[in-house]
Symmetry: C2
Subunit: 368 residues, 2 copies
């Protein structure tokens, strides 16, 4: 407990991590096993089966990358685009921009398709941007703006291109259909709608994408061809690197919670929390940042009403008071909207109506 805060725990209503499910924290107490232990392999296989259910895919190559969500992004890109390959990237927030950075380091030709922050990308524009890109990449749920970018038309019209989708903030929070939508590569994080602490990154890769892997990924650690020998190796697993055992226990448990509740029920819970939060904010005169019709329930960006900040307090001060007095974390803006928006998450175990009630109540107490 710090000198300033009556809380040693947090209600995590920022852009992630959200609060983990209690069952997930319990899983951390399981005895650690070796990464080649037959019982661990059973648990890993089960984790990957659960991931397939949540991703809604049959892809055999579905597993958690042994690093956080941004490494999932890097992994999907470094295995598919090399020097001279064209990748079309949709950019309407920080994470589309990050994809460009990652892809350009691979020597890829990056074709940018932009939309204003807060607006959704135009799918046709992405399809028209280049006649035959190797990859078209889109962020499904832009954590920096609260915008949902749809990808179904891209999947339907992509032709020979591979469709790569950032599902960090969408997986487990809103409907996502990897196979039905024609998504070839997707990555996610554990610390958003899956209710697991950050640390590993679920990915799924289609057979078509595997056929078009670059010859030799610039990254050894993220080389999917090598990792596949461990992940999908059947009885004889080839050691690649030591798996993050405890984090996989945690993911296994988090996916168990989600599947026990039922994926549709979990989506509905996120939707209901987001709906009530967004209605409550609008009732209080806040303006939602994301375009109507494309608002994520699990991550809400609102414009900060300068005139309603308490006298002499900046928006950062208000966030500090929320953290110190209430133990509630909400997020500030990133990049061009820093200081202009707040980002409020209701993800995983945080997606409970009582948390919405608490935050709206706290804002009522704080704002003028």
């Amino acid at each position: 407990m710090s000198a300033t805060s009556p809380h040693t725990d947090r209600i995590l209503m920022g852009p992630g991590p959200g609060n983990p499910y209690p069952e997930v924290i319990e899983a951390f107490s399981r005895p650690v096993m070796g990464h080649l232990d037959p019982e661990f392999i059973v648990l890993l296989d089960e984790t990957n089966d659960r991931l397939r259910q949540v991703f809604r895919t049959q892809n055999p190559l579905t597993f958690p990358v042994s690093a956080t969500g941004s490494a999932g992004m890097e992994a999907t890109i470094v295995n598919t685009v090399g020097p001279g390959d064209t990748i079309v990237i949709g950019i309407n927030g920080v994470f589309g921009e990050r994809m460009c950075d990652v892809a350009s380091r691979c020597g890829a030709d990056v074709v940018r398709v932009e939309a204003e922050w807060g607006m959704a990308l135009d799918q046709q524009e992405l399809l028209d941007a280049h006649p035959s890109p190797k990859v078209i990449a889109v962020v499904h749920a832009e954590t920096s703006t609260g915008v949902r970018n749809d990808v179904t038309e891209i999947g339907a019209g992509k032709g020979d291109s591979l469709l790569l989708v950032d599902c960090v903030t969408s997986l487990g929070g809103i409907p996502l259909e990897i196979d039905e939508w024609g998504v070839d590569l997707a990555y996610s994080g554990t610390q958003k709608c899956l209710g697991v602490p950050p640390g590993i990154s679920p990915v799924t890769v289609s057979a078509a994408a595997i056929k078009r892997f670059v010859d030799r990924s610039p990254s050894w650690y993220l080389d999917f061809s090598m990792i596949a020998a461990y992940v999908t190796g059947g009885a004889a697993r080839a050691y690649h690197h030591t798996a993050p055992i405890s984090m996989i226990y945690a993911l296994h448990a988090g996916l168990g919670v989600v599947l026990n509740e039922g994926l549709e029920n979990v989506h509905a819970r996120h939707q209901a929390c987001g709906d009530r939060l967004q209605a409550g904010l609008v009732d209080r005169g806040f303006e939602l940042f994301a375009e109507e019709g494309h608002r994520l329930p699990e991550l809400t960006a609102v414009r900060i009403p300068e005139e309603r900040l308490p006298d002499g307090m900046s928006e950062a001060d208000v966030r500090s008071v929320l953290l110190e007095r209430y133990g509630i974390e909400i997020g500030g803006g990133l990049g061009p909207v820093a200081g202009k928006v707040w980002r409020i998450g209701c993800m995983g175990h945080t997606a409970r109506q009582r948390n919405v009630t608490m935050l709206l109540g706290a804002l009522d107490e704080l704002m003028v």
Copy 2:
């Protein structure tokens, strides 16, 4: 519990993970905080201070990479060698070979200096291999052979070259003096002698190495220049990627155990376990694989005496029986020594005399 095993837990005496300290598992139950939470930043700073004490360095850029030990290897290499840079790499096992793979993917000119598996590298040979390499890289503790490669002469004679050392299996297990020995870059794992589950990779980087970073690392995720803005950013931390919060709690706790016991005492405990294990194996007619004078106490490779395997059982069968009947994991050999050596670890919380007693007793019961 499986049908074949009376154990749901393991005594982890393979090449890692070892058993975690109980205090580490306890730390996993701490409430998750956000990666920009001021209280988390305090904990991260404290973790990095503890790492500096264990690495025996003053390097400000000392922190855990958000991925396992092999990513620590990749991180130190991709930030320092690019196309046309020369790196001299010592190879006497799997992990030196892995360094070559990683460095060649960066486009570096790799100069190989080899020693027979089981023998230590010749430091003068590494110094003489090239007139002015940018980096000289050595594995301090070869997990594939149980050999300790010394690096003090390289540190003293390196001139303008940077000395990069793999400390995955040495950190916390045997004496290591980053600053005194002139080591510029080092990485480790959590799951060996620090008594923490696998998942993140402590690294430390000298001021001289920072000055010679490549312009733009091929990896965004492992870009030290960008990560430094978060890790050593003072009050204003720039978000790079979401830190693996719970794994950092675990590392913080594991380092706390090590420093409370005292680094020298922890080394002595590893040494005493290794000494007794190795003497016990020799007494039983086993032949140690690593060259005398260069044997790691924390990781012992022994030649498998074929004639003493129980009738009709392979060495893998014996390891399976150890696992199923006793709940003890030991490791097989990698690469050219697969099927020829066992690798027995006494690392972290596993480094207790009672575990040596148990394993030697089990071998007495099993071997003919």
